[in-house]
């Protein structure tokens, strides 16, 4: 690594109680307070409390949307079970490893690192019982990275403020001691100077960004059942919905939660639930009900490893199939996938507005990486287009809730409106909502529900389209940032490629995709699923060039930018 990089990556590992997770947060906060950008993710073991843990950080001059190929700095507070994570922490050739001099570094890791720095962690703690090893390590890491010491100390003080001045002071002292211990090596893993940032910035996780976006998009009712890794969304929403006059209800199960939001939305209140694969599975019957009865709802699905209970704490893109195809019958609906932690904010608002405007369920397909990673982002200057429900203008008589002659979307009355009562129905129905088994009504309503989605002008938000050339990389969701960086690496090596990443997965946009693909000879599809679900989705719905290859892998090992780059450099044999 250069002595002054555009981005550096840091991993901190330790066993339960060692405090590496909070240490990671403080390091990110200090870097951001110093004007840098960054991204933080966490690895935890299967235990509910304690167990091994790691904080993975990438600090950078400009916003970053994915983790880097390799880690420049590895700080081991201890090494208990650290091998469980070793696949997930590839070390750079130039990497620096920091460890407790009493413990040393595990030989496999030491062999990979270029330099090993031993810190007298155990010794210092013995001498200063109020100090903690993670704080000493934090101070050391801050110094190696070249962070302003006062800024770091400010973050530490604020964090421990409520535990009292003595605790805060001890932690600051510990950090200072850590910094002193590596003083001679200050800036060994140094970031290039921070770029001046104007305007407000947020430190936010994808799950928080989804929740905030949903409220900004109009959501005022949520019902949900806890599930990893979606519970954070609910826990943020519960107090904050109350603040804006809304409500969150903890339901008895996901069957209840999805039906509660259908009821609330039928009542005129934009509504949302959040879940993960197993919960989404339980919702598909009622997703069909929302489709057929044309009640807008938003379902946030934060993907984790599958199938079945799978790996609840790890990321994967394997719920694409169920999100797109999971309902019985012909049930067109919206599927929208955010492309970065920051994009969760935009996508959630867009999804809420589209669901409302089109009177249909929207699935927001996030994943554990996006949901639980924390990043610094600039407060967005603009909000996405806001969608609103179309209400009947004057009391038509009789009111035809599912009218075929009122444009692509038929006005939806809200309980309480006089003269427009109707019964919403999941049975095949006529324009008034009365059940029928006639072929004409069936086809007419199926057409209506398809056409209202197809006819909507989604604008440029439908996809991210970047770059040019005869080669394109098609990806989606949290891999967008990885692919962008892989393409940039390839460009640096003289090979250019387009990036195509649809944010709108349903309805499909054949015309737009075909112009995005115009002139493309070779296509690389990149996705995080074992069964190449995205590739098959693309084949089903779009005309692809003849030369298509795929780079894919299930979770939990992420796909890294250099893998995309390597495939691009391999050229013809893509």
């Amino acid at each position: 690594m250069t002595s002054s990089a555009q981005s550096v990556s840091v991993a901190m590992v330790g066993s339960g109680g060692a405090g590496v997770l909070t240490t990671g947060e403080m390091l990110l906060e200090a870097a951001c307070a110093g004007g840098w950008d960054g991204l933080l993710t966490r690895l935890v073991g299967p235990q509910i409390r304690g167990g091994e843990a790691a904080s993975l950080l990438r600090l950078a001059r400009e916003p970053v949307e994915c983790m880097a190929d390799q880690f420049d700095l590895l700080v081991g507070i201890d090494w208990v079970n650290a091998d469980r994570f070793s696949d997930e922490i590839p070390l750079a050739d130039s990497s620096v490893l920091v460890c407790d001099s009493a413990a040393g570094a595990p030989p496999t890791m030491a062999a990979k690192a270029r330099r090993v720095i031993e810190l007298p962690l155990s010794e210092l703690i013995k001498a200063h019982p109020t100090w903690r090893a993670n704080m000493i390590a934090l101070g050391a890491a801050g110094s190696l990275l070249g962070l302003e010491e006062s800024v770091l100390h400010g973050v530490i003080s604020r964090r421990f403020a409520e535990k009292g001045g003595a605790v805060a002071a001890a932690n600051v002292e510990a950090a200072a001691a850590g910094a002193r211990a590596v003083d001679a090596r200050r800036g060994w893993v140094c970031l290039a100077p921070a770029v001046h940032k104007t305007g407000k910035r947020w430190l936010i996780t994808g799950n928080e960004a989804v929740a905030l976006g949903a409220i900004l998009g109009g959501v005022r009712f949520a019902a949900a059942y806890p599930i990893t890794p979606a519970s954070d969304i609910l826990e943020w929403l519960a107090p904050n919905l109350t603040k804006v006059g809304g409500t969150l209800v903890q339901a008895e199960d996901e069957l209840a939660s999805v039906n509660m939001i259908i009821g609330a939305s039928y009542g005129g209140v934009a509504s949302l639930t959040a879940t993960s694969g197993p919960g989404l599975s339980l919702m598909v019957e009622s997703l069909g009900l929302a489709t057929a009865s044309e009640v807008p709802i938003v379902i946030v699905n934060v993907m984790r490893g599958g199938p079945s209970t799978g790996i609840p704490t790890k990321s994967e893109q394997s719920d694409l199939n169920i999100a797109v195809y999971g309902m019985h019958g012909d049930a067109p609906h919206l599927v929208i996938a955010p492309q970065s932690v920051a994009d969760c904010w935009l996508s959630a608002q867009w999804a809420t507005g589209l669901a409302e405007a089109l009177q249909t369920p929207a699935i927001l397909l996030s994943d554990q990486f996006l949901g639980q990673a924390q990043t610094a982002m600039a407060r967005p200057a603009e909000r996405p287009p806001v969608g609103r429900r179309i209400l009947p203008e004057e009391a038509p008589s009789p009111y035809r809730r599912y009218a075929l002659d009122s444009g692509t979307v038929s006005p939806m009355s809200i309980p309480g409106m006089r003269g427009c009562t109707y019964t919403a129905d999941g049975l095949t129905h006529n324009e008034r909502g009365t059940p029928t088994s006639g072929a004409r009504d069936h086809i007419a309503q199926l057409d209506k529900r398809r056409d209202k989605l197809d006819a909507h002008p989604y604008g440029s938000l439908w996809a991210t389209l970047e770059g040019e050339g005869e080669t394109a990389v098609l990806t989606w969701g949290s891999l967008t940032g990885v692919v962008r960086e892989g393409i940039a690496q390839a460009r640096a090596a003289g090979v250019s490629a387009r990036l195509i990443a649809p944010r709108l997965l349903l309805p499909t946009r054949p015309a737009e995709m075909s112009s995005a693909l115009a002139g493309v000879e070779r296509l690389l599809v990149v996705e995080q699923s074992h069964g190449t679900q995205f590739l098959k989705y693309l084949r089903a719905h779009y005309d692809l060039p003849a030369n298509v290859s795929v780079l894919h892998r299930p979770g939990p090992l992420p796909i890294r930018p250099h893998e995309v780059c390597r495939r691009l450099l391999e050229g013809e044999s893509l």
């Binding site: 603040k243 039906n259 009821g263 309980p415 999941g426």
Partner: protein, 277 residues
């Protein structure tokens, strides 16, 4: 009928023009009659009432009224209604389903609706059978009742909905017989006016798959004791009653569900502040 309420409307104002698919003689016609009479007695405009149901013959009832209606999927009526009522506390929400919908596939929502105590009125049109799917046993079917699916009977102890409601926290428990539409209407009015979760089990005969239920007319009788506000006492009584006691059997006084409210509302944009660095 509740004498305190002035009759502003006629029951026919609450009926829609949709023709029921019910068999001639089905008890559900009388439930519809009782329901519209109750609505008239309550004097609410139709657009202030929502009727929510699941799937079954009984669950067809919303579209036969002139109110806002929601005919959802099988077993989920209480969840839909809870969401609606919590989001729209100004609406009067009545849930009407069948014994299959409410006690079999919908059993969990029943437990938790009783416990949650949202201000709903829950009417179960119980005919001890699955009418819509042509005669399979429901949880309330007698153990020796023969069906194609359970030759010789299920052999299972019937589900006791009233006791389960009490055990789970329902705030008002009553039993009605659809053959007495005026009394049923009065019980529905009472249930709607009572705060919290009110449960009205209505015996409503299926003339097609349970012609034996024509005998219910002779078996029903008013409850011999006055309603209690002690759930344990009411449960004890109902665990040993004959299943044909009619009237209000429990009238509780738990306050209805009330979601958390902020003393002062903030603009949504205000919520962004916590993320600022």
């Amino acid at each position: 009928m509740n004498a305190a309420q002035p009759l502003k409307c006629r029951p026919s104002d609450y009926k829609s023009e949709v023709k029921p698919i019910w068999c001639p003689g089905c008890g559900d016609y009388h439930v519809l009659m009782a329901l519209t009479r109750a609505m008239a007695a309550l004097g609410l405009p139709p657009e202030r009432i929502a009727v929510v149901s699941g799937i079954g013959c009984s669950s067809r009832i919303p579209a036969y009224t002139n109110c806002y209606g929601f005919h959802g999927v099988h077993g989920r009526a209480l969840a839909v209604a809870s969401g609606l009522k919590i989001a729209r506390p100004d609406m009067t929400v009545i849930v009407a389903t069948g014994d299959g919908d409410g006690y079999s596939i919908g059993g969990n929502h029943f437990l938790h609706a009783c416990r949650r105590n949202v201000d709903l009125t829950y009417i179960v049109m119980d005919n001890h059978i699955y009418g819509m799917t042509k005669g399979q046993p429901s949880p309330t079917t007698e153990p020796d009742f023969d069906t194609a699916l359970t030759p010789g009977g299920t052999g299972l102890r019937p589900f006791n909905p009233l006791v389960v409601a009490l055990a789970s926290g329902a705030n008002f428990v009553a039993r009605a017989y659809s053959g007495n539409p005026n009394e049923t209407a009065a019980l529905i009015v009472d249930a709607v006016e009572h705060p919290g979760f009110s449960f009205v089990e209505v015996l409503s005969a299926c003339v097609t798959y349970r012609p034996d239920q024509r005998a219910w007319k002779e078996r029903v009788h008013p409850a011999p004791v006055a309603p209690t506000d002690d759930p344990a006492r009411a449960a004890r009584r109902l665990m040993t009653d004959d299943g044909f006691n009619l009237g209000v059997l429990f009238r509780g006084n738990r306050p209805a569900y009330a979601p958390a409210k902020a003393s002062e509302l903030v603009a949504p944009e205000k919520l962004e502040e916590e993320f600022e660095v």
